[in-house]
Symmetry: C2
Subunit: 191 residues, 2 copies
């Protein structure tokens, strides 16, 4: 997605050869017009799939999932990290290792929110090692639902997550795939 | 907001005289059409204010803030809990006690995302003791920005947060105010 790549080049900050900061427009401050264009693009890319639910994981996936859901006109479910007083005893649970935080989380979705009749599109802001997406796929499997695909805003093409998912036959559509980043020059190369 | 009160009566679950579960449509599974109506209502209520930014706190505030931002056509900033490898060293920090989790969090916003020229609308899903909103107001104060008001989806009118904020002169617009809840009958009374 040209508009997104241009924005990443303009406002993204290469912190290391692995860490790209996009928090001025994507995952701390949010450019809502860009989100709207991203949501429209996911709707175009997955127009051939009978999506009736969007699944993401808290926290930074929620906003883009909601705006995308407006284009699909379907509900969102966001998987929750750790246990809350308000959370159902009756839920699907899986473990996810966070690349950013270096921790392992329990991630859960209430059984009332996902069933075998659901056709689910996973949406997230980043794909790196694929742990979050694999956790969500595991939850979809536990529910007996159908995973229709995965929509990612920025894929780190130099990490193995996207390749592994595609090798499993999962349809992954990433709007920008970063091939490499140079922390010295700040240069970002897209696939 | 009639539509919201009806939905809370229909699908909300009274877990105790203090805890209301609305996770089938508001903060776990999300009814995106309802979010869109809520966003439109906030835009109507604060139409007289020169809002140029929406501020919320992760995680459950993000979705409603983003959909509301589409109605205002302004960016969203979501305050982050705890420190992440990706987060700027240069940020406003405040402490917030979570009602749901019973913990105290460091909450932060990058200084690049909020400045003295900003006119900020705070959006959140719940208002109970007011700790999250007070933390966000503190961050707005640190930035020298102007707080234009607070838009809340569900206020627990039997807790003191809303009353205290209004007593400080903060404009708080809550779309539904729960006066009391009966965990035995499941009855919910709105103000």
């Amino acid at each position: 997605m040209k508009l997104l790549e241009e924005r990443i080049r303009k406002d993204g900050i290469v912190k290391s050869d692995e860490i790209l900061k996009v928090d001025s427009f994507l995952n701390h401050q949010i450019d809502i017009r860009l989100y709207d264009r991203i949501g429209a693009e996911f709707a175009r890319l997955f127009a051939d799939r009978p999506v009736n639910k969007i699944l993401t994981i808290e926290a930074s996936g929620i906003g883009i999932a909601c705006v995308t859901a407006m284009h699909f006109d379907v509900p969102v479910v966001f998987a929750k990290k750790a246990k809350s007083l308000n959370l159902d005893a009756d839920h699907y649970v899986t473990k996810v290792q966070s690349f950013t935080h270096g921790r392992v989380y329990d991630v859960m979705v209430s059984k009332r929110c996902l069933s075998s009749s659901d056709h689910v599109l996973i949406i997230d802001d980043f794909l790196a090692n694929g742990c979050a997406v694999n956790g969500l796929l595991d939850i979809i499997r536990q529910a007996g639902a159908t995973a229709e695909g995965v929509g990612i805003v920025i894929e780190k093409g130099f990490q193995e997550g996207g390749e592994r998912l595609r090798a499993q036959g999962v349809r992954v559509e990433s709007l920008a795939i970063v091939e490499r980043m140079d922390p010295v020059t700040g240069e970002i190369t897209f696939r």
